[in-house]
Every structure is written in structure tokens, then in C-alpha cells.
């Protein structure tokens, strides 16, 4: 037995010894086979937890962080792991992390948000909240960071960093009119692009115009630019895209920011932004308000050409003064309900560069008020959004000049728009989100041109009432890797109360007498706007989409009910003008690389029919200086727009973000239907005016510890001046030349809430001209001081 025991011992001792040896050599690994690793994913700033982040440890299976940002990985056999955490909109995290045996304390992963907005939520593409790369549509987002650093005086100028955008603001901050268009749509027709303020349309029914001067950048949190026809959710005006300005939401605690600035042409500006939000925890309420007061004035400069200055001794500087107030207040209740009211008041007076006898010479004056009431909430499974709005603009223009004698007349136009917009959205099963709604809108104009150097008064007025229904389904397939959005909208509009008449005409307006229509017939029209788009995401950070949409643009009241002078002749009202339509197909792709670099590309093709164009009716008219052609705005042309956009955004190192983008547009009239055989003009094959074939911009933001730097280089390609693409009488060329501008901003936040900034727009003083050969402002330098006060609770 002893021998057996000895033999057993000898035999098994080796095994036991080997086992002990193995355990001694690799004690950790044997123990860690049972280890788990706990972690927490949070924002680097603010500390909010991040749900849904992808977490990978070595070769182990990828898991998602939970609602509290927590994750737990078990089955770890080593004392360290290569931990990788990624999430859309954040700089990827990758590090080798030690695994403490038996420790339950979570490892905190702090994720830094990218300045590239690839994980942001947008609403204007579908009227529901969706992530920017989960919506099968091209949306460009200007974030609050970009707004902060951007070199611009006015809100529309901020949009120059968006691919394919065309901004027409010929005189900088002194411009009374500015237009922002995109993707080949004529650069002077704001009515073909829908502009929203917190989802409320601000295009006027009168001319489709937007007074960009009444919005101040300080009050904005971000701007969404949705490309392609958005009529399936928003109806008319959205034919060429949507620009939605989103205002800031007040944060808890009273805070304020005061800004003063001074710059070129003796331009002064000031802003005061106040906000407060108080949480009533017991009642589950958050009450908030904000107030923004802004104003400015400028001595301006002479915009007219050297020739005009020679022949007109009454030319003076075009100047500016303006003030605005935005008040917002609201209440967030339990259950995700929110009620908000907003009031926007604006008044400006801009001199247009000529003065004879009137105290301020020729001026344009906007006296505007906009009021909106918004409700967001839930009723059972339904998300509800309802907006009531009213806006009114008193537009006054003083016009005086001397030619053969002195002429002085004033235009007073009251433009009103009001509406009620509603959307209802709910999930239907796991794969569908249904959104439906209705919109009601009424817009009107009541205008008079009153002469003070003769007895004439010219009146025009009209009203457009619109009702619409829409429905949309957002569908998910294959574990959310495929998304299909299909929607359709029906609009019905009635043009009514149209009138054009003249009281006591003299030589000033005698030639218009035969074009009076004191009581225009009522007109009705309908439009159906479908959209279908498909998106496939082969990987978490990439997508490909395909889209078809149909958009329309209703006639504006100015074309329906006003006759008057236009460049090159006289135009008569056309109350029978029908909407214009555009079919749009588009394909695009996006990819975000591991280092956070975002690549995007879109290509599109649009066919427009019944497009609105001024066409000669064969008649001529003498307005006091010889015969001129008479035009009628008509549905006479078919057009084609083809184009492409590409953009790269990157953060090569922390605190430095760069972008470069390019847009190409080829916009051509395919066919032109004459009104009369005597019309000798044929626009077939001609390019649309005011559309640059090439636009490009590049720039960046560098948050340097010495001073922060922002810069933008913008290239604007050449554009055709007139419809016939021939030499223009005034500019003596057929195209506006191309030009490149460079903007630079240096700014620094100092202790005590102070901040300083120096901004240079068009640093190299490049001159560009409009259709009357008037010159842009050139280089504009602005120095700014800010003071932030208050505290967050």
C-alpha cells in the first residue's frame, strides 16, 4: 500500500506540481477568467451620460452603453484591455485600460463632442425629430459653435459655409434686401426657398421675401438647411429647400450677455441678451424666458458707380439704423409638454443713397411684428406639435429724384401672414413612425404708392388662403440599417380680393391706366407633393440615400395683383398665374472615418415646369422716357438644374476643426413658350440668371490658448446677368465676374466674463457689383467687446 501510495504520490505529484507551477506563473490570468470590467460613458463637458455608445474590449463582442451610460464587460482574462468607445458626434475613445481585480468601481470614459454635427437632431427635414444622418435627405447643420465663431454681421451671411448656398446681400449690413437660395434656384427669388424661425414660416405671401435683418445671430442656437424639395411636409416656398433657424433655449439660472461693437463706415452695434429658467421640481415645471435687444447704425458709404455719381448730383451715402426686440417665454411641464410664446419686433430705416429734399432722402423702412404661440406635447402615443402665428410688416419706401422735374412718392405696403400649423406623430409598431397634420395659412398685401408731386395714387391688394393636409411614414428595416420615408401633401389655395387701380392719374401713372383691374377674379389651384427617400447604412458611420420629391411654388401676391416698373420695362399683374413645379431626384453618401472626419457627397437633377418668368406680351409702353416693353409674369418655361455638392469636415487635432466644400450647378431653360408671335426673344438654352455654376468655401476654427481664430475663404463663381445671357447695357458684360473673399475673426474670453473680438470681412477688399453696377462694401472691420454675467443654478 505504501508502495502504492508512493507510486500514486509520485505519479500525481508531477501533476500537482505542474498545476501549482502553472498557478504560480499565471496567477492573475487564472483569477481574471472570472473578472468583469465596469464602465461609464459620459460627456467630457457637462457630465451627462451617453446612452447607446458602442463599447468594444479587445476582440470581445461589441456592447452598447445603457440608459445611464453604463456598461459591463465580463469574461476578461487579462489585466488590461484595449477599450474602444465610439458614438456619433464624439471623438472616438481608444485606450489600454488596466483591469483591477474584483473592483466594481466603474471606469469613466469621457467623450469629447465633435464640432462636426453628425449626431445632432434636426426637425425640418421630416417635421419630426431625427438624427441628421438618420434622415434620408441632405441636411446641413450650423451649430452654435459655428455660429459663435463665424465671421458675419447678419444671420444670412453665416450660411456661406453651407455647400452650394448662394447669398445675395450686395451692400453688406446696409442692404435692405437679402436673399439666400441654393441648388441652382435663381439667386434673387427668396420665394423658392422656405425660411422658418422655430418652424414658423417667415416668407411673406406678398413677394416670398424674408427680411433677414430682423433676425439676430445672438438669439440663435443653430440653423438647419434641408436641401431639395421639402413641399411634401411644408408646401409652397419649400420647392428649393428649407432653412430653419432655431432659437436658443434658456438654461437654468439668470444670465446675460451685453455686446458693443464698432467698425468700418462708423458702424455701431449693441446687443443685450437676458435669460432665466426656474425649475419648480415639486410641480415638475420649468419656467423660462429670454429677451434679446439689438440695434445698430451706420453712416454707410456710396454704393453707386462712378458714372452714376457723375450724372446724379444728389447721390449720398447709403446708411442704416435698426433696432429689434425678441421676447420668448415658456413653460415645460411633466410628460414632455411645452408651451411657448414668442414676440419679435423690428424697426429699421435704410438710406438707399439719394437725397434731394426729404430729410433723410430715399429710404426703406420695415416696421415688423411677429407673434407665435407653440405647443408641444403628448396625447397617449401621439406627439403633438401645434403652432399659431401672426406676422405683419409695414414696409415704407420714400422715393425722390430729379430728372425733368422733381418727383416724390412713397410706397406703403402692409403685408400680413397668419397661420395654424399642426403635426401629429406616433410610432406604429417597431418599424413605423407615422406623421400627419394640417396647415392653414392666410397672407395678404394692401399697398399704395402715393405721389406728393402729382395727384396719383396707385393701389394694389390681394389675399391668398391656403389649406393643406400631409401624411408621412418613416420606416425602419433590417435592424435600422435601412430607412424608407414616404410622404405626400395636398395643398389647396384661393387667391381672392385682388385689385389694381389708380386714383387721379397724371403723366406719372397715366400709361398704367389701361392695366387697371379693380376687381380681380377669384382663382383656385391645387398641388400634390410626394416624396420618397431610401437610406441604407452599411456601417454605423456611413449611409447612402436616394430620394425623389416634387415641389411647388405658388405665385406671390406681387405677381398676381401688382403692375409697375421693372428693370428694362413694365410688368403687368397676372391674377391667372399658376404655381410652378419641380421634380427632384437626388443621391448622396456620407461616411465618418474613425478619426471623426466626415465626408459627404450629393448629386441631384431637377426638372421644373411652368416656371415663372417675365415674358414680353408684344406691347410697348412709354413711361416718360421712350417706349419700353411690357412684360407679364407667366408660366412659360421648363428648366433643368443639375448639380453636385461635396464636403469634408475634420478635427485633425483637438480644438482645431476644418472644413472644405464645393457646389456645382448647371441651371438651363429647356423650353420657352412665347405669349405672342411678335416676341422676338427665345430663352431656350439660356442659363438662369444669378446662379453661380461653381461655389466653394473652406475654413476653420482654432481654439488656441492665446487667441481663438476663425477663418473662411469663399469662392463665388460667375453668374449670368440677364435672361438672354447677352451683354447688359449698364454693366457692359454678360456675366458678373467671379470673386473670392477671405474672412477672419480673432477672439478671446477674458477673466471676469469679458470677451474681445476683432472681425475682418472681405479682408482683401475685393469689389463686387450688382446689376446696377453698384459696388459692395469691400473690407469691413469690426471690434467687439462682450460681457457675460449672471450664474447658472
Amino acid at each position: 500500500m505504501f508502495t502504492s501510495l508512493k507510486t500514486w504520490h509520485t505519479h500525481h505529484a508531477c501533476l500537482i506540481g505542474l498545476l501549482l507551477l502553472i498557478l504560480n506563473i499565471l496567477p492573475g490570468q487564472a483569477l481574471r477568467a472570472q473578472s468583469c470590467f465596469n464602465g461609464l460613458v459620459i460627456h467630457a463637458t457637462g457630465g451627462e451620460s451617453i446612452q447607446g455608445a458602442y463599447v468594444k474590449a479587445g476582440n470581445m463582442e461589441v456592447i452598447l452603453s445603457g440608459k445611464a451610460g453604463d456598461f459591463r464587460i465580463c469574461g476578461i482574462h487579462t489585466d488590461s484591455i484595449l477599450l474602444e468607445v465610439t458614438h456619433l458626434g464624439f471623438v472616438p475613445f481608444k485606450a489600454r485600460v488596466r483591469v483591477a481585480a474584483g473592483s466594481e468601481k466603474p471606469f469613466v470614459v469621457r467623450m469629447t463632442a465633435l464640432s462636426i454635427p453628425i449626431g445632432e437632431v434636426v426637425i425640418s427635414a421630416t417635421r419630426t425629430e431625427t438624427k441628421i444622418l438618420e434622415t434620408p435627405v441632405r441636411v446641413n447643420l450650423i451649430t452654435s459653435k459655428t455660429l459663435q465663431g463665424q465671421v458675419s454681421q447678419k444671420v444670412d451671411e453665416v450660411l456661406q459655409v453651407v455647400p452650394g448656398i448662394n447669398i445675395n446681400r450686395p451692400f453688406g449690413p446696409l442692404s435692405s434686401k437679402a436673399t439666400v437660395t441654393m441648388r441652382g434656384v435663381n439667386g434673387k427669388e427668396q420665394g423658392r426657398v422656405l425660411v422658418l424661425m422655430d418652424g414658423i414660416p417667415v416668407n411673406k405671401s406678398d413677394g416670398g421675401t424674408v427680411d433677414w435683418n430682423m433676425f439676430d445671430r445672438e438669439g440663435l442656437d443653430r440653423i438647419e438647411v434641408t436641401k431639395g424639395a421639402g413641399s411634401s411636409v411644408y408646401g409652397g416656398n419649400a420647392m428649393g429647400g428649407i432653412i430653419n433657424m432655431i432659437s436658443k433655449s434658456p438654461e437654468k439660472g439668470f444670465s446675460g450677455k451685453a455686446t458693443v461693437e464698432y467698425g468700418t463706415y462708423n458702424t455701431l452695434g449693441a446687443r443685450l441678451n437676458l435669460s432665466d429658467a426656474v425649475e419648480k421640481e415639486a410641480q415638475g415645471k420649468l419656467l423660462y424666458w429670454s429677451a434679446l435687444l439689438f440695434g445698430g447704425k451706420s453712416d454707410g458709404y456710396i454704393t453707386q458707380s462712378a458714372y452714376d455719381q457723375l450724372v446724379n448730383p444728389y447721390i449720398t451715402k447709403s446708411n442704416m439704423q435698426e433696432a429689434g426686440l425678441v421676447l420668448k417665454g415658456g413653460c415645460r411641464l411633466k410628460g414632455g409638454q411645452q408651451i411657448e410664446a414668442r414676440l419679435n419686433v423690428f424697426d429699421d430705416r435704410r438710406g438707399t443713397g439719394e437725397k434731394v429734399y426729404q430729410p433723410e432722402g430715399n429710404t426703406t423702412d420695415h416696421d415688423s411684428q411677429a407673434l407665435s404661440l407653440n405647443y408641444k406635447g403628448m396625447a397617449g402615443p401621439w406627439d403633438i406639435r401645434s403652432d399659431l402665428f401672426f406676422q405683419q410688416e409695414h414696409y415704407k419706401k420714400v422715393n425722390e429724384y430729379i430728372k425733368d422735374d422733381y418727383t416724390w412718392y412713397e410706397v406703403l405696403s402692409v403685408r400680413q401672414d397668419a397661420g395654424w400649423m399642426n403635426s401629429f406623430s406616433r410610432k406604429a409598431g417597431k418599424r413605423h413612425r407615422i406623421t400627419a397634420g394640417f396647415d392653414l395659412k392666410t397672407g395678404s398685401v394692401d399697398a399704395a404708392d402715393t405721389y406728393y408731386t402729382s395727384s396719383d395714387i396707385v393701389y394694389n391688394k390681394g389675399r391668398m388662403n391656403t389649406g393643406a393636409l400631409f401624411v408621412q411614414d418613416e420606416m425602419l428595416f433590417f435592424r435600422e440599417k435601412m430607412r424608407l420615408v414616404a410622404g405626400i401633401r395636398y395643398d389647396h389655395a384661393v387667391f381672392t380680393d385682388g385689385s389694381f387701380r389708380i386714383e387721379r392719374p397724371t403723366r406719372e401713372t397715366d400709361f398704367m391706366k389701361s392695366y387697371q383691374v379693380p376687381d380681380m377674379p377669384v382663382q383656385n389651384w391645387n398641388a400634390l407633393s410626394p416624396r420618397i427617400s431610401l437610406q441604407v447604412s452599411p456601417a454605423v458611420n456611413s449611409r447612402i440615400y436616394l430620394l425623389y420629391s416634387r415641389g411647388f411654388r405658388a405665385a406671390v401676391l406681387d405677381d398676381l395683383c401688382r403692375s409697375g416698373r421693372v428693370k428694362g420695362g413694365f410688368k403687368i399683374a397676372n391674377p391667372a398665374l399658376k404655381p410652378e413645379y419641380m421634380h427632384n431626384i437626388e443621391a448622396g453618401a456620407d461616411r465618418t472615418l474613425d478619426n471623426g472626419t466626415a465626408l459627404s457627397f450629393s448629386v441631384y437633377h431637377s426638372r421644373g415646369n411652368d416656371f415663372h418668368y417675365y415674358v414680353s406680351n408684344g406691347q410697348t409702353i412709354d413711361m416718360g422716357f421712350g417706349d419700353r416693353p411690357v412684360f407679364v409674369r407667366s408660366n412659360i418655361s421648363d428648366i433643368r438644374i443639375s448639380g453636385a455638392e461635396a464636403e469634408i469636415r475634420m478635427e485633425p487635432v483637438p480644438r482645431l476643426s476644418l472644413f472644405v466644400n464645393y457646389g456645382y450647378n448647371d441651371a438651363v431653360i429647356l423650353s420657352y413658350h412665347k405669349l405672342t408671335v411678335t416676341d422676338t426673344i427665345d430663352l431656350s438654352g439660356k442659363n438662369l440668371t444669378d446662379v453661380p455654376m461653381h461655389v466653394a468655401s473652406a475654413g476653420g476654427n482654432w481654439m488656441w490658448h492665446i487667441v481663438n481664430i476663425s477663418f473662411t475663404v469663399r469662392y463665388n463663381g460667375s453668374m449670368w446677368i440677364n435672361d438672354q445671357n447677352i451683354m447688359d447695357d449698364i454693366l457692359l458684360r454678360s456675366q458678373y465676374p467671379d470673386y473670392t473673399t477671405f474672412d477672419l475673426r480673432l477672439w478671446k474670453n477674458l477673466p471676469g466674463g469679458l470677451g474681445m473680438s476683432l472681425m475682418a470681412q472681405n479682408l482683401f477688399d475685393v469689389k463686387y457689383y450688382d446689376s446696377k453696377d453698384a459696388v459692395g462694401p469691400g473690407r469691413m472691420l469690426t471690434a467687439q467687446i462682450t460681457y457675460q454675467f449672471g450664474k447658472r443654478k
Partner: protein, 315 residues
């Protein structure tokens, strides 16, 4: 009351009350921008001058004779901004003067000269308007006297004016005397100049153009005009010119001022007459109410060219 106060406080965020004064200040600033001044309701003043120099109400003037109307007017507290003189004869109303102006405290004191037409009775209606769009009118009836009072004409031939870049020929023409002056010799005669010429392209077409010192564009082509203290206005009937209503033959045959007066239609006139091509005949009226005709003998079509004209004008 306490209940109302509680509801009010619940509806309005408490923060509003803390910062209410600030918000009221913001509103007050906005209200200040909306203030506008009131306008007057007073009527303008109008009086027709009397005296031997002026045609009296009910007076008789022979065919072609001079009708002189003197106008005294003021705005009644605001500027006077409009003057209209209409002639109503044979059931037709024709506009003789239709002028915007801006006469402040001094008002308007001006004489107007017309020619008696063939109608037995004419009613002349003079209306003025002020910046408040208030109007006042006055009128007089004139009868046709016996006989004819057509007068002689001054005829000037071979007048050659240099266009704006021409450095050889004179530029400035005194139409009543038929005298042309250069940049140098015009000194001292600025108040006598009625006509200057220039060339440019407009509406895609070449345009030899006749204008006058008071027309704003003239100063662009002749910068020294800007410094003249007196600039005369000549009104050209461009409608008759564009439509060739007066032939060169008719111009050549005119020996009295009847054609000069009858050819001039005040309905479509301007201080600037474009497209003055060779062979055109242009009716005009000078600042001192003299009717005339210009025949374009030859018009150059470049800035350094010349324009040769013949003039027949009332003395």
C-alpha cells in the same frame, strides 16, 4: 384678491418680476422708434397775377398770340410740391404743365407763356398741391381775338457742337442767339446756355443725345456744369422726334412760328432727347418759353464726334 394674485404669479414666471423693470425699459425703447410726426391739413395758397403783362380773365388773344399766366403760390405751412396747368378747349383737355417741385417758404412765383390756338374759347385751369396732398385751383377763360399773331422766327444754320470728348468744337449753345461756346469761352454766359450734346449707348443702341444744363445727366458729361449757379432747362418733345411727326421739309418751309408752336406737344417732353439721328426734327421749348425746332443735319456716333444742327426759334 389674494387668489387673483396667486393665479397671476403662477401664470407669469417669478423671474419676470425680478427683471420686470428691465423688460419694461426694453419695451419703452421699442415704442420710441414707432413715434411719427403729424402732418398738416392746411390748403395751399394760389393767386394768378394781374397787370398789363398778364392775360386777363375773359381777355381776347388772336391766333398765335401770347397767353401769359403768372402764378403765385405757397404750400400753406408745408412745401408746395405740384403745379398743373391744363387747357380745356373744344371739349378736349390737354396738359400744358405737369411739374413736381419742392417750394418751401418762398413758394412759387413764376410766369408761363403759351400760344393761342384756333378755339374760340379756352379755359385755363391752374392747380397747385402741397406736401399734405391738399389742392387749390384757379382758372381763367380766354377768347380768341381777331386776326393772327404768328410771329417771325430766328433761323440759325451750320451750328456744329462737339460731343463730350471732342476737344475742337464748342459744346454749349445759346439757342435764342445761335451762339456756341467752348469750355473756355462759356465763362460769363452760363445762364444763357440752352443746349448741349453727348453720345452714349442706351437700350443697346447708339444715341447721339441733346440735353440741357439743368438736366442731371449733363453734369456727368460736362463736369464743369456742376459748378454753374444758373442752369437752364430746355424741354424736348421726344415723342414727336421718335415718331418723326415733323418732317425736314416742313422744317425747311417754316417761315413763321406757327409750326414751332403747333409741333410742340407738352404731353411727353423731357430735358433729355435721345436718338437724335441725322434727319430728325425735334420740337423744343426753352426756359423762357420760346418755341423752336431743331433739324439734325448730321449726328456723329462716337464720343469724340460732332452733331450739326439747324435751329428755328422764336425771337
Amino acid at each position: 384678491m389674494a387668489v387673483h394674485k396667486d393665479i397671476f404669479c403662477t401664470l407669469i414666471p417669478p423671474a419676470f418680476f425680478r427683471h420686470g423693470r428691465l423688460i419694461i425699459l426694453l419695451f419703452s425703447i421699442m415704442i420710441l422708434f414707432s413715434c411719427e410726426k403729424d402732418e398738416t391739413d392746411a390748403d395751399p395758397f394760389l393767386q394768378l397775377k394781374t397787370g398789363v403783362a398778364y392775360t386777363p380773365p375773359g381777355g381776347s388773344v388772336p391766333l398765335g398770340g401770347v397767353i401769359r399766366i403768372g402764378v403765385l403760390a405757397s404750400g400753406g405751412g408745408v412745401p408746395l410740391t405740384y403745379l398743373r396747368i391744363q387747357k380745356i378747349s373744344g371739349g378736349d383737355t390737354s396738359l400744358q404743365i405737369d411739374r413736381g417741385l419742392y417750394a418751401e417758404n418762398a413758394g412759387l412765383d413764376e410766369d408761363f407763356v403759351f400760344s393761342k390756338d384756333t378755339a374760340q374759347t379756352e379755359t385755363w385751369l391752374i392747380t397747385v398741391m402741397n406736401a399734405g396732398r391738399k389742392e387749390t385751383s384757379a382758372g381763367l377763360v380766354i377768347h380768341r381775338g381777331s386776326g393772327s399773331a404768328w410771329g417771325p422766327v430766328n433761323h440759325y444754320q451750320g451750328i456744329v457742337l462737339g460731343l463730350q470728348s471732342n476737344t475742337v468744337s464748342p459744346h454749349y449753345l445759346d439757342a435764342r442767339k445761335g451762339l456756341a461756346y467752348t469750355n473756355t469761352t462759356v465763362a460769363g454766359h452760363e445762364a444763357e446756355i440752352d443746349i448741349v450734346g453727348y453720345f452714349y449707348f442706351t437700350s443697346g443702341k447708339p444715341s447721339p443725345t441733346l440735353t440741357c444744363p439743368a438736366y442731371p445727366a449733363a453734369g456727368g458729361y460736362y463736369p464743369q456744369i456742376a459748378s454753374w449757379t444758373s442752369k437752364r432747362m430746355t424741354l424736348y418733345d421726344y415723342y414727336s422726334t421718335d415718331n418723326d411727326l415733323v418732317s425736314a421739309a416742313a422744317f425747311d418751309a417754316a417761315v413763321s412760328d406757327s409750326l414751332l408752336v403747333n409741333a410742340y406737344n407738352p404731353r411727353l417732353v423731357s430735358g433729355n432727347c435721345k436718338f437724335c439721328y441725322t434727319g430728325k426734327v425735334i420740337p423744343f421749348k426753352t426756359q423762357d418759353n420760346k418755341y423752336g425746332l431743331i433739324k439734325v443735319v448730321h449726328a456723329g456716333e462716337n464720343e469724340s464726334g460732332t452733331i450739326e444742327i439747324e435751329i428755328k426759334v422764336q425771337p
